[in-house]
């Protein structure tokens, strides 16, 4: 019994994962960057840097700043654009056994729709993760993810154009994240992933200027874990689709906290920068934990802390 390997499989709608550990968008490049350091085949899934229809240059530097147990980033969604992604980045990923999930972003509902259309049916693209933390230019730049109706619209549009699972990635910068989650669920999302970064800033007291050229940036890393865990708990309560936990996950313990809170899978983000082996170590760590507590399957952990 204790000798038998625990079952690590988990599901995001119709997408079956060999294990619940994925790498978060924007923290793992296009996978290849980590090829010499990580056994990519072992990962539950690889989520690539957010892709837009056209290439984006991103924000001027400085783009990052370290904070207490965290970091701020204002990369500005720099990416190679859909064409280059398909031509230059996809082939490498097609050689990797791990699932590929493409994170997409746009300025308008139409952008998201076109990205979904062009990615639909592309070999190896197992799912899309819709980053709705981006500003909606047609709505005066309010982020799609901060308004239930806009979040619903984007999700519905992508859902109509894309036949595989649609994961919607939620922004934590809202009063009631459960409300947004319900909206995207009703629009047909197969799963929700959370959290994206928390809006923050830092100031250099020598130069008396914001440390980031963009003034504001997204806070990530261990500092935000308690906030992310709370939101996962809330969202798992308000939706019935699978929840993917993200936010400061650095160790096995962190990952298990999210599973116990109700997450069906987790993503490792900033930790990839500090310890490229983090995701792999967490996969092994969860297996070890299940064995120690003589649990047969990772499914036995999901939401376990909710019924005490």
């Amino acid at each position: 019994m204790a000798l038998k390997q625990p079952d690590m499989r988990t599901a995001l709608g119709s997408l079956q994962l060999a294990n619940p550990v994925m790498t978060a968008s924007g923290t793992f490049g296009y996978g290849e960057e980590y090829g010499s350091l990580v056994d990519l085949h072992r990962l539950g899934a690889i989520i690539v840097k957010g892709i837009s229809l056209l290439p984006r240059q991103g924000n001027p530097p400085p783009r990052i700043a370290e904070t207490a147990c965290g970091m701020l980033n204002a990369i500005g969604l720099e990416n190679v654009g859909l064409e280059n992604f398909l031509a230059e980045k996809l082939p490498y990923l097609q050689g990797i056994r791990a699932h590929l999930i493409v994170n997409i972003l746009g300025d308008t509902v139409e952008d998201y729709g076109e990205l979904a259309t062009r990615l639909d049916g592309v070999e190896k693209v197992a799912a899309v993760e819709v980053n709705i933390s981006c500003p909606n230019v047609k709505q005066g730049g309010v982020a799609f993810g901060t308004d239930p109706d806009m979040a619903y619209e984007v999700t519905k549009e992508v859902r109509q154009q894309f036949s595989r699972p649609v994961i919607v990635k939620l922004s934590p910068n809202v009063t009631d994240i459960g409300e947004i989650a319900s909206a995207v669920e009703s629009a047909g999302a197969a799963a929700v992933s959370l959290i994206n970064t928390v809006l923050g800033m830092a100031i250099d007291i020598q130069s008396c200027r914001p440390k980031l050229a963009n003034v504001f940036g997204g806070l990530s890393g261990p500092a935000i874990k308690p906030i992310a865990l709370r939101m996962v708990w809330q969202v798992a309560e308000s939706v019935s689709i699978p929840v993917i936990g993200i936010g400061g996950i650095t160790t096995t313990e962190d990952a298990i906290e999210f599973l116990l809170a109700g997450a069906s899978a987790i993503q490792v983000g900033t930790a990839n920068f500090i310890n490229p082996q983090a995701a792999e170590e967490i996969i092994r760590g969860i297996e070890k934990y299940l064995t120690e507590y003589s649990l047969d399957s990772v499914q036995d952990l999901i939401g376990r802390a909710r019924h005490f």
Partner: protein, 262 residues
């Protein structure tokens, strides 16, 4: 080049000045593939604060598979690293980035280093020396005072290289800036300049080289989270002002003509 991660043992620690330390790490895999101008990302302790790895240029590589880095104490990360002792381990990732391009040719080679920017030049000097004789190479070093570079000057000199030194307080070599002696060099055509140091110094070196049509490579410092071309945090504005290159992948060494100098 394959990047590797390891907890390298510190086989030697030296305190070169009040705030500069030299660590010798046993890291054969890195030593065998490293080239001058490349860097490694070092974790400053086991804890979560400071969180990010710190980038350091490869200062020297020895035949017995060790890698050297110079660390100047700036904030809490370098503070923590400076406290490490021989026998302890450093969690290092590397070698990373694109280093200096150099070949064997007739042109004079000027290595220009300011302050801690001298670090990668020792490694470069050794490799250059193999390709070209000592006569073709001049080393120009600048610092605030003698304390900062005395030992480093020795290291270059002991290789049989001509070393020209300036200090801001005149406590060693000429009083002034390293760019002063660079401009004093009689206008040799087709010289190759390899520069590393504070941004104002690099700007001065670059404009000087442009005036004389000297080929100029600079090693740039930017904030870095990953060193792996994954976070895109290390953006550097292109010379054409149209988009960015990334210091950890396209650099840290750039041909001066490829990046913007604002």
């Amino acid at each position: 080049m394959p990047v590797c991660q390891q907890k390298a043992e510190i086989v030697r620690t030296e305190k070169l000045s009040t705030d500069i330390y030299r660590f010798t790490l046993q890291a054969p895999d890195m030593a065998s593939v490293a080239s001058p101008g490349q860097f490694i990302m070092v974790r400053a302790g086991e804890g979560l604060d400071p969180l990010l790895r710190r980038p350091f240029s490869i200062h020297q590589v020895t035949g017995d598979g060790s890698v050297r880095i110079l660390i100047k104490v700036i904030g809490k990360g370098t503070q923590a690293l400076a406290g490490l002792q021989t026998g302890e381990r450093m969690d290092v990732l590397g070698p990373m980035g694109r280093g200096f391009t150099y070949s064997s040719d007739q042109s004079p080679h000027f290595l220009v280093g300011g302050g801690i920017g001298i670090a990668p030049l020792l490694f470069l000097a050794e490799r250059l020396l193999k390709k070209n004789g000592p006569d073709a190479i001049k080393v120009l070093l600048g610092a605030r005072n003698a304390d900062e570079i005395a030992i480093l000057v020795e290291d270059f000199a002991s290789m049989g290289l001509e070393v020209l030194v300036t200090t801001e307080d005149g406590s060693l070599g000429n009083k002034g800036l390293v760019t002063d002696i660079l401009s004093d060099l009689q206008d040799e055509s087709a010289a190759r300049v390899y520069a590393c140091g504070p941004h104002p110094m690099l700007k001065a070196v670059v404009s000087l080289c442009r005036g004389r049509n000297w080929d100029c490579q600079v090693s740039l410092e930017t904030l870095m989270a990953c060193g792996l071309a994954a976070c895109l945090g290390c953006a550097v504005l292109r010379a054409d002002m149209n988009g960015y290159v990334h210091a950890c992948k396209d650099g840290p060494v750039f041909n001066a003509d490829n990046v913007a100098w604002l």
